[in-house]
Symmetry: none
Subunit: 224 residues, 2 copies
């Protein structure tokens, strides 16, 4: 699933140009040509990233940004501005923008910043998850460790998916039960231990170092 970007830019030619470039990078773009429309669109279907022109007739980009932040939105915002004065930059960042690009800019620079901000935010739900020499592909449901392919059952896959999407974070038994088994276990069951064991057997088939660590009294964590 590709990232969605909302571009708010009143100059039609520039907007069209940016739209084409971003589209050809595989993003899914919507465009608004004034601040008010942009704000409405951002509220109605929040994009993964917002690119705002600063100077626009009517509501400025800065104002759009401030209003969004005021209602708790955390979408990353990149401001486009012709202004190159320090006081303006400061105002933009303090108003809650995450970044700005000064016009005229090279499209490469804008793309790099888009990548940087999306990486931060979109890290929440990518399809290809990696940790150390381990990779898990959600769409093909394949798992590899240092090159070789590993066959997992459904439950094993779900468990590893959960762990690898929270690397270096300790996950409690309760969280695992809730997420992978989806119910509160009555009485006691050692089902988690059993599945962790299955995973370890498969992931460490060839004396590779242990990635799933036990945190006694709490749960498990993916850590080198």
């Amino acid at each position: 699933m590709s990232a969605t970007i909302l571009l708010v830019e009143d100059e039609e030619r520039l907007a069209r140009f940016i739209e084409l470039e971003l589209t050809s990078e595989g993003y899914s773009i919507s465009v608004a040509h004034d601040g008010f429309t942009g704000l409405t669109m951002a509220r109605e279907s929040p994009p993964d990233l917002l690119i705002l022109d600063w100077m626009m007739p009517g509501m400025t980009g800065l104002e759009v940004c401030r209003r969004l932040r005021a209602t708790g939105s955390k979408v990353p915002v990149i401001l486009l501005t012709a202004k190159d004065e320090v006081s303006d930059r400061v105002a933009g960042l303090d108003a809650g923008a995450d970044d700005y690009v000064v016009k005229p800019f090279s499209i490469e620079e804008l793309l790099a910043r888009v990548r940087a901000h999306l990486r931060r935010n979109h890290e929440d739900n990518p399809d290809l998850l990696q940790f150390d020499d381990l990779t898990l592909n959600r769409s093909s449901r394949e798992v590899h460790r240092s090159g070789r392919s590993i066959e997992l059952t459904a439950k094993e896959f779900e468990l590893l998916d959960y762990l690898i999407s929270h690397p270096r974070q300790v996950i409690t038994r309760d969280q695992i039960l809730e997420k992978v088994w989806g119910y509160d276990f009555m009485g006691d069951s050692n089902i988690i231990e059993v599945y962790v064991r299955y995973l370890r057997l498969k992931l460490e088939e060839n004396q590779e170092k242990r990635l799933i660590q036990t945190v006694r009294g709490v749960g498990y964590v993916l850590r080198e």
Copy 2:
């Protein structure tokens, strides 16, 4: 508790200037004058924000950034660079930097970026608790003192977590029992003393100064 910033900059005069400015804004700054030292410091006591000069003899700022990211660090990084070419900016952002400031810059601009990144980070990472040279990370359940990692059992961790989340506040025995053991103890038990001792042994392994102070007749307090 003020945010900690690590500045890595080989030009001594510039480093000194930035340090003074940031200090007067209320941040707590450490400075390294080369990349290797900076990397080590960043690993040993992770700051809330890292400011890296790009061009340095030995290890460049870009390299420091890449290495930190490779080990999973998510600390926000601002690059300082004299280079103003697009390809360089792109490389920096793609290497995992969050932002860069082009020299010569106005101090106001740097400050605004520092504020922007700290604001963002403090929102999504309230799990890292610090006191003096001690850090406790709730999500990874890791504890460090002046760089070295410390292994704690579940109860030890809970106790330290409680103390470190009320720094310089005296905590009574009853509060500790209630919070960590979760019940009113019948009769007497010296369990708190025992666990405080365990913690002290582990936290002061190398003759470091005592952080957990006894308040006779009342309880304990985390204090320098």
